[in-house]
């Protein structure tokens, strides 16, 4: 087993627990004033989140059982120093910051400018105060994909910023799903910029997202992320995004790995019966999907070893990217990867850092 501490570890999914109070300072008008006038700084991040974006329910801290420092949504605005403290705690050299607040954007269905205003403010705030390539702190630029023009503006804004290494689509609720031609211009631009597209699920309105009426987080948290990733993967693959933009790197985050063999097997089965409905594909969808990259968290280490081994084999260890999801309650530390018995040391190094350094050109 390698000494993970001595290796370069890249964490592809770190959540900066941004606060509206801080980001609002950078938002365009009229949103800047709207937020400043809304007293949100008095109500803490948790309250602000539910006031702005639709929320999910359920106590992520497992009703008092998860007691780790920084595991809960902070009462105070996030302090950029905590990123480097956390990276030290996990022995991570490079982290890709994903906005925590934006995870709920999928639940916004109004055609107002809330998501655009937030993302624009967030980009500036992170650049100004948090991201620091010298310290290994990079960012993924959230795409307000419902508004293609605004997304292109953001790509333009970050194009020459070393600190941003990819675009992030928070996928929960994306409608139409993200293979739709509507989003083509964003993919085209990302391909041109060599900017990987990271699909990150979100917990937005989880209780109602898959089906209304679930009672516990164990139910919605198991299904919400999974359903979101699966629906976007099917759409992106069947509508031929990888054929249209063959140099675009596609990354899916946060559903572990065991769902992929099941999904692609099922999709291939459909495809062989009706390939003309996915006319841009040259061969089975699985061959495209296993060319995508996948974040490992939350890795199903409790699964049977032979199942995990099969999943790694089908996806390819050159396609897996270590992700912690820190500081969220169900984070994975690098040892989760390092201790997998079926990997050799080169594969461990690749998953922990090597693959990500290449994909994100860090």
């Amino acid at each position: 087993m390698i000494d993970a501490e001595a290796e370069t570890v890249v964490d592809c999914d770190w959540h900066y627990q941004d606060s509206f109070k801080e980001v609002a300072e950078y938002m365009p008008e009229p949103w800047h004033t709207k937020y400043k006038n809304s007293f949100w700084e008095d109500s803490g991040v948790t309250q602000a989140l539910s006031s702005f974006f639709p929320t999910s329910t359920g106590d992520r801290q497992n009703y008092g059982k998860v007691l780790r420092e920084h595991s809960n949504y902070p009462e105070e605005p996030e302090d950029p120093e905590r990123v480097t403290e956390g990276m030290d705690f996990l022995d991570i050299d490079v982290s890709l910051q994903i906005s925590h607040l934006i995870l709920a954007m999928g639940g916004v269905t109004a055609d107002d400018e809330r998501v655009q205003a937030f993302t624009k403010g967030y980009i500036e705030y992170m650049l100004e105060e948090v991201l620091d390539p010298d310290e290994g702190v990079y960012g993924l630029a959230p795409m307000p994909y419902g508004d293609v023009e605004a997304s292109l503006d953001i790509l333009e804004r970050v194009e020459d910023e070393e600190a941003y290494v990819g675009a992030c689509f928070v996928t929960a609720g994306a409608s139409p799903p993200l293979g739709n031609r509507k989003y083509d211009p964003i993919y085209e631009r990302c391909e041109e910029m060599d900017f990987p597209v990271v699909y990150h699920t979100g917990g937005s309105g989880l209780d109602e997202y898959v089906r209304a009426g679930y009672q516990e987080m164990i139910e919605t948290h198991t299904l919400g992320f999974l359903e979101s990733n699966m629906s976007q993967i099917v759409s992106v693959a069947c509508q031929g995004v990888p054929e249209k933009y063959p140099d675009l790197d596609i990354v899916f985050m946060e559903s572990g790995v065991t769902y992929i063999p099941g999904l692609v097997s099922r999709l291939d089965e459909e495809y062989l019966k009706r390939p003309e409905e996915a006319p841009l594909l040259d061969t089975r969808p699985s061959e495209y999907i296993t060319d995508f990259y996948f974040g490992t968290q939350p890795l199903e280490v409790s699964a049977r070893n032979d199942l995990l081994e099969l999943c790694f084999d089908m996806i390819g260890t050159d396609r897996l990217l270590y992700a912690s999801d820190y500081p969220h309650w169900d984070f994975d530390s690098p040892s989760i990867i390092n201790e997998l018995p079926m990997l050799d040391d080169d594969e461990r190094r690749a998953i922990l850092g090597g693959n990500a350094l290449e994909v994100f050109e860090i």
């Binding site: 211009p185 993919y187 031929g240 249209k244 390939p275 003309e276 841009l280």
Partner: protein, 126 residues
């Protein structure tokens, strides 16, 4: 050229309309001889999916799509390629080559057809 003793007689060409399929036994295999747009094809009547009677399926043109540019709808047109679709679950093969239209690693065996003096024969390839 095919060797006369390899030829399995199917029947008079004049009795085939476009779309007609005639099943004959070629060695141990059931083979369908199909007429499409005046041409004859022969393909094994056993689907690699689950053994379905491929040759009883519909013959039609393959629908293909072309990417016309960012943001544009995929342009869908029928191509010149004739395909035959297994009537059980729809697996579809190029009539001429027997190759599955979605995965070229899957293939139904095809045979040469000879029309001699108005009579259609399948070349068993033996």
């Amino acid at each position: 050229m095919s060797d006369a003793e390899n030829l399995v007689e199917v029947g008079p060409a004049s009795e085939f309309e476009d779309g007609d399929a005639e099943i004959v036994q070629v060695g141990r295999a059931e083979v369908g001889v199909i007429r499409a747009e005046g041409e004859f094809y022969a393909i094994r009547n056993q689907c690699p999916h689950d053994g379905g009677p491929v040759c009883k399926g519909n013959v039609q043109k393959e629908l293909v799509g072309e990417f016309k540019g960012t943001g544009k709808r995929v342009d869908q047109q029928y191509s010149d390629t004739d395909i035959i679709s297994c009537p059980w679950h729809g697996w579809s093969f190029e009539l001429e080559t027997g190759i599955h239209i979605g995965d070229d690693r899957i293939r139904v065996p095809t045979y040469d057809v000879v029309v001699d003096d108005g009579i259609v024969y399948v070349d068993s390839g033996d």
